[in-house]
Amino acid sequence: MTTELMIEMNNVHKWFGDLHVLNDVNLKVNKSEKIVICGPSGSGKSTLIRCINRLEEHQRGEIIVEGTELTNDSRSIERIRGEVGMVFQQFNLFPHLSILDNVTLAPIWVRKTPKAQAIDKAMEYLKRVQIDDQAYKYPSQLSGGQQQRAAIARALCMEPRIMLFDEPTSALDPEMIKEVLDVMVGLAEGGMTMIVVTHEMGFAKEVADKIIFMDEGQIVEAKSPDDFFNNPESERTKMFLSQIL
């Protein structure tokens, strides 16, 4: 298999006011690669992945997604966002729309898919995350785990080439975490390119090709799961691992 470069971040810096949130971040993600990002709270994990679909703007360096450099050109940003799906910690489903309408919204309005076709595809993805029986309910009528799976289906419906997950299980009750992780494992096995911010180390071991440890806006360690857990180099990584394992 030839490797195809999906995401490239070169010397990326970002500040919030005086706060240096991303400090010289370099990252390459190949097609079908699964990256797990972990690190202490406030280390810039969310900011990093939000720069990839430009929910945040970086101030220095370059970010290239599928060959397109992220600039202020709104056309290319919207196109890239169509290729990059995102799943949030708080689900962020649209409460005024049914699950089905949530899932078909972007295909219909961004991809211009005919409605009937969009519904067919939506039902297919809802079935894949096992909530096709909830299609006509509103988000408030679903459990947290079901909502998060709906959010994943909503992102998948755009047939993205890259999926970003920002702590997708952190807001869930323990008994619902597994149902969401199972969906993500299935997605990974299907060959999706994924960047996942999570503290679920079991998931990281099972799925990740590379685990990245961030601290104070820097990528401190980037290793395969084996190396990451058994031979961490940096003291900060060791300390972090001792806390969460």
């Binding site: 929910l55 962020n92 649209f94 005024h96």
Partner: protein, 364 residues
């Protein structure tokens, strides 16, 4: 164990005195000595007002006849309203052209009822017809052209004029208000500044001043010979005035939206306008329905101020016919009638707002 619990639940019913009418009375009207006194006082006041009002308005009132002389001295003279009904409802609009107004009322009524009946198809089409074609059709029907005789706006009056002003004010001010609210929150400094200035200027001026300016000062600024219809000037004034208020109401709704909704919409590649139209506005407008309808009710009642620039709206014309020598001394009946009609419209809007809220409630 389980059955025991179940039994005990079935047995305990609330004591009679805490439910039903007696319970309600006790809890709400006679819960303490001071409340009992207030209740009795309230009953006494109602007792002394209501019966005398009822005998004035109905029992002693005169309904049949056509002149002042046929009215009894003690009761209300509803003949006054009856005889002047055409003026009160249509102003000086020519009698032979009234069908034009009435047929538009009829169309409005039919469409309105159609939209209010639940579960009918094509509501979107009927709604768009009402919002787009109906106003255009109304302009032609009311003022003339296309073979219809021209009726100058100075002849428009009464409830008809009130509905025209309130209708235009309501229908046009909402979209303008939404645009102003979006403008004020815009990231582009110029847009935001201009919107803010516009909103604050209109909100800082009483409507009566706006109307005076529209009527008296506006022509001074226009090049000679250019002249707008007075009604149109008043309409523009009312429209921007209420748009400025609505803008702030809508902005409140926009601010209450969680950031995650914007982010989710952006992350799926929706453009700014699609995000607003499909995700943000439906939710934030829903949140502020009560305040929006409140503004509409306020506009409806504020239309009475157009009297100061010489337009005879519903209330204005009632006052005007009260000064007719044939009907001197019946202003009470006129005001009561005006109050009842205003109340019916405003209460209708208020009820509609509640229904809409219930219907659109999908939880958070």
């Amino acid at each position: 164990m389980n059955t025991e619990i179940k039994d005990s639940i079935e047995v305990t019913k609330p004591p009679i005195a805490s439910i039903g009418i007696i319970g309600w009375l006790r809890k709400n009207l006679f819960s303490s000595w001071s409340n009992t006194i207030l209740t009795l006082l309230g009953i006494y006041i109602l007792y002394s007002i209501i019966p005398s009002f009822i005998s004035w308005a109905f029992i002693d009132a005169s309904f049949v006849g056509s002149t002042k002389q046929e009215c009894s001295k003690e009761g209300a003279c509803w003949i006054f309203i009856k005889e002047n009904l055409k003026l009160i409802f249509y102003g000086l609009y020519p009698s032979e052209e009234l069908w034009r107004i009435n047929s538009m009322y009829f169309v409005l009524l039919v469409c309105g009822i159609y939209i209010l009946i639940p579960n009918l198809k094509y509501k979107g089409w009927v709604g768009s017809f009402l919002l787009i074609l109906f106003p255009i059709l109304s302009v032609v029907m009311f003022s003339g052209g296309f073979g219809l005789e021209t009726v100058e706006t100075r002849l428009w009056g009464g409830l008809f004029l009130t509905l025209v002003i309130a209708g235009v004010g309501i229908v046009l001010s909402l979209p303008i208000g939404v645009m102003l609210a979006l403008g004020r929150r815009s990231k582009l400094p110029v847009v935001s500044l201009l919107s803010t200035i516009f909103i604050e200027i209109w909100r800082g001026v009483p409507l009566i001043t706006v109307l005076f300016m529209a009527s008296n000062m506006f022509p001074l600024f226009m090049p000679e010979g250019v002249n707008f219809d007075k009604l149109i000037r008043a309409l523009i004034g009312v429209m921007f005035f209420s748009a400025a208020y609505l803008a702030e109401v809508v902005r409140g709704g926009l601010q209450a939206m969680p950031k995650g909704q914007y982010e989710a919409a952006q992350a799926m590649g929706l453009s700014y306008w699609r995000m607003m139209a499909l995700v943000i506005l439906p939710q934030s407008l829903k949140m502020v329905i009560p305040a929006i309808i409140g503004s509409f009710i306020a506009i409806f009642k504020d239309t009475t101020l157009v009297l100061v620039i010489g337009l005879f709206d519903f209330l204005g014309i009632i006052q005007f016919v009260g000064t007719n020598p044939d009907w001197l001394g019946f202003s009470h009946e006129g005001y009561v009638f005006a109050a009842v009609i205003f109340w019916i419209f405003c209460f209708g809007m208020s009820r509609y707002s509640q229904n809409l809220e219930k219907k659109l409630d999908t939880g958070r």
